[in-house]
């Protein structure tokens, strides 16, 4: 969807799409060329993009890709649709805590380790946002707010462990 969105900005060559993707979205993991062209092939097959003018020369990077109306509609609806608020990590943490209490294990210790891991990541992200470009700052902020929400949950859960222990060990 990201590549399609980039094409909604302007018709582009595969090489430029990869470059823009790597600059803004890759988070340190550059997109392989193979994946760029296989995605473009799939988008063309599905009628979401077409190959525009083919410039003289060899190789797929000479092709300029253009978004179709169908593609643009898909980008629009993807943008307007909220992402499912799925608390993946919370599910795992919740399972760990409840299981730990059921098994008589030190849940508080596990949560403290999780807290330490969260804080370490938050420290890394804070360093990134202090020294990075604005795009890095925005990405770091997103991570920081999510980690902070998890920590609130950890704090509240630690405060409720005694009560929770009674419930799950019945």
């Amino acid at each position: 969807m990201t590549l399609l969105g980039l094409l909604d900005r302007e018709p582009s060559h595969g090489y430029d799409l990869k470059r823009h993707y790597d600059t803004f979205f890759s988070r340190g993991k550059p997109l392989p060329f193979g994946q760029v062209y296989s995605t473009l092939g799939r988008l063309a097959r599905d009628g979401k993009i077409v190959v525009g003018e083919v410039e003289p020369g060899e190789g797929p990077e000479r092709k300029r890709y253009v978004i179709t109306e169908r593609g643009a509609t898909e980008v629009e609806s993807w943008l307007t649709e909220p992402v499912e608020a799925e608390p993946n990590l919370q599910t795992v943490l919740f399972t760990k805590v409840v299981l730990a209490l059921m098994l008589g294990r030190p849940a508080e210790e596990y949560l403290d380790r999780q807290r330490a891991a969260h804080l370490r990541r938050m420290t890394e992200l804070t360093e990134l946002r202090r020294n990075g470009e604005l795009v890095d700052v925005l990405l770091a902020d997103h991570g920081l707010f999510h980690l902070e929400a998890d920590l609130h949950w950890i704090d509240t859960t630690v405060a409720r462990l005694d009560a929770l222990r009674k419930v799950v060990r019945k």
């Binding site: 403290d112 380790r113 807290r115 330490a116 891991a117 969260h118 804080l119 370490r120 938050m122 420290t123 992200l125 804070t126 202090r130 920081l144 980690l147 902070e148 920590l151 704090d155 405060a159």
Partner: protein
């Protein structure tokens, strides 16, 4: 740069124990965040480390000095000469201008007014406060007042800076600006920082975080 250490510190307020064997060691130049739930004893620990409170038992060390055995006067001099403070609500002196507030620790330490103001003024440029030197605290925004308080805490180049919820009264963006400046200035001067906060985003600016729970310090172990 000097280390700060608390060893097995106990302190009760009447019948209520606040610290029950709290120990913490802060390396010279290190920035440590003390976190913990309300009422856990984190501010009490900060006050013991800063020589504001004297523990019932245990020891507090700053560099080579044991400070919990000093007299009230000696601790007062130590706080004035060696420590800087930033509190949640700035606590600027309302009758003084911003630059006089920044210069205050120097003035109290006997530095002449002209020299003290001369040392205070560069902080305004440094902390993005240029032009506000003559304003009084009532004419400053919360973020500006807190930056003035930060300058006041660091102007005398203290060995240690104690900050108690320094961003607690600020919105998150302004709080981050204050923390950016606090960390950058402390690192530049090599100041050891002990920071009390309940906000993880603020604690993340520190080199290390500890949790105070039930009057004891729990050093977070990274697995």
């Amino acid at each position: 740069m000097k280390a700060i250490e608390a060893r097995d510190v106990h302190l009760s307020f009447g019948e209520t124990p606040a610290l029950r064997g709290a120990s913490i060691s802060v390396a010279p130049g290190e920035i440590v965040a003390i976190m913990g739930p309300s009422g856990s004893g984190k501010t009490t620990l900060l006050h013991c480390l800063a020589g504001i409170l004297v523990p019932d038992a245990g020891e507090i060390h700053f560099g080579d000095h044991r400070i919990d055995t000093l007299s009230e006067n000696q601790r007062s001099v130590l706080r004035r000469d060696e420590f800087g403070f930033v509190f949640q609500f700035g606590q600027l002196v309302p009758e003084l201008t911003a630059e006089e507030n920044v210069a205050l620790p120097l003035l109290l330490g006997g530095v002449k007014r002209t020299a003290a103001l001369g040392k205070a003024r560069p902080w305004f440029e440094r902390l993005g406060l240029a032009g506000l030197e003559r304003r009084r605290s009532g004419e400053l925004s919360g973020g500006q007042a807190q930056r003035v308080a930060l300058a006041r805490g660091l102007v005398a180049r203290p060995g240690a800076l104690f900050a108690d919820e320094p961003t607690g009264a600020l919105d998150s963006l302004t709080g981050e600006q204050v923390m950016d400046l606090l960390v950058a200035s402390a690192r530049e001067q090599g100041t050891t920082v002990v920071l009390v906060t309940h906000e993880a985003r603020v604690a993340a600016y520190a080199d290390r975080q500890v949790i105070v729970r039930d009057g004891k310090v729990n050093a977070l172990v990274h697995s």
